[in-house]
Amino acid sequence: MNNLVPLSLGAWLFVSCYLGSLLLIGWIAKKARTENTMRDFYLAGHGFGTLMLFMTLFATQYSGNTFFAFTGATYRIGYAWIVSLHFMTAVIVVYLLFAPKLHLLAKKNGFLTPGDYINNRYTNKLLVLLVTLVMVAVLANFLLAQLMAMGRAMQGLNPESGATSYNVGVIILALIMLAYGTLGGMRAVVWTDALQGGVLMIGFAFLIVMLFDRFGSLEKATQMLMHVDLTTGSRKVLVPSADQCRQWLSYILAVGFGICLYPQAIQRIYAASSLKTLKRSMTLMAFMPIPTMLISLIAGIMALAYLPGLEGASSDQIFGQVLREVQLHSALGNMLVVVILSAILAAMMSTADSALLSLSSMLTKDVFAKLFPHSLSEEELTRLGKALSCLMLFFLVVLAITLKDKSSLVQLLDRKLDMLLQLVPAFILGINWKKLDGRAVMAGLIVGVTLALIMAFGNLSFVTNGKVFGFHPGIIALGPNLGVTILLSLWFNGKRKLVKNNYDFSVKRKVS
């Protein structure tokens, strides 16, 4: 967002008040607390109704980052980014495979963390630890990326101060986030999610109207780009190539299966007040990709047609240029941009806070409480969770400041989906296939994660741009993972049956 017109004092005041209101939400959420337990802090007690659950599922699936990252992606590859519509719909289709059953199990057994389900399903402590480790690694990466995005956004708002704006931005926004998250727990996060989601949707709809007003119709932009395609041989409007179609398939599978296994997404399945609530919220979610993805697609196409010239990584700055055009177009546009910017900053904080809350719940419940059972009361564990949040955030803020000029390093680490995909057997297959064995899941997970990491970082000749023949390494690694899991489960089951038969036979012989 380095291209914005500098904000006025009034605009800065608005941004400060908007961010300050999050603290008020945190305080109100603290007052709404019914008991001082981990369940109340991490899952908001008895759970959320349809609207709140829908808003928080929406904010979990579409972060503030999504809007301008997807606008940038459309700017780079053109209409082919309509694939985002399919992979966001695929997320809900995958929820269908396991979320209703998981919700009922969670209600019956009082699950708090993803590890609780693994423990209940497989009674294998090592597997709980392994799954938690994978999820903690993913969340730490996710949180770091959000902190860095927050710093860059602040740097964009105040470009004269450069690195100072970035550092101060990361620290101040992280402190606000920590304050309201620690005060109100899951309630505060969900309420701020709802606020940000609503403001962003309305703000972006207005933004599109203003873009049409500034540049003209979408048809005109499409015809212009079509002409460029036909004269230069690019494919920004024309039908995607075979290679792009292969990448579509990979994206649909990777995002569809990956996003719904984020720990914070799983905890939202637990946090629904009833199955009916979950069902209604997901029905609404099934239709959300259409308006959300079309808005960022149209913004990206308008930018591609009328603001060309950015290449490669700098194309991520296109959203800033779009906002600048709207700012310069009218006074109303300027006001709209200030509101959108505030909501984007707050949405980033809210997304990061969801991850932080999830991270602290897993470290407290699945690591500390498992290593030192019965050593602390519920209240003390909740306090420990808050202390762990502070510690993790401090560590990640230092890392975000240290790595600010090494975004490529972070991109290298950005293998979240590849790792999450390896949890498909443990959660999705495990809930649907009774014969699945915990030891087999563990072996499959080790194979899957190892292969995904080797393909991602191994500098192998058949891996191009982080993809294997157009497919994500995580999708490729999921094959052997599933193979090992299923075959070993069948073998363990066969062995168990054999032992049981031998036992029956020896008992019968003794009786006779």
């Binding site: 519509l85 719909t89 809900i92 269908l96 024309l238 179609c245 199955l275 069902k279 099934a286 259409i290």
Partner: protein
Amino acid sequence: MGLLLIYLILLCLGIPWYWPADSTLVWMGFPGWVISSIVVSILASIVTAIALHSKAGALDE
């Protein structure tokens, strides 16, 4: 199995591999293949909503 088949068909129709590479059809401001992709996505949303109600509704709370 029926539901899986429906999703497979939608997946095949949603990816525009079957569109002629040089198609220049534009409708409502979008290229023709984008419109077909959007329609398939809407169908997938409707199928998911129906499946969610019938499948999840069958479970006991």
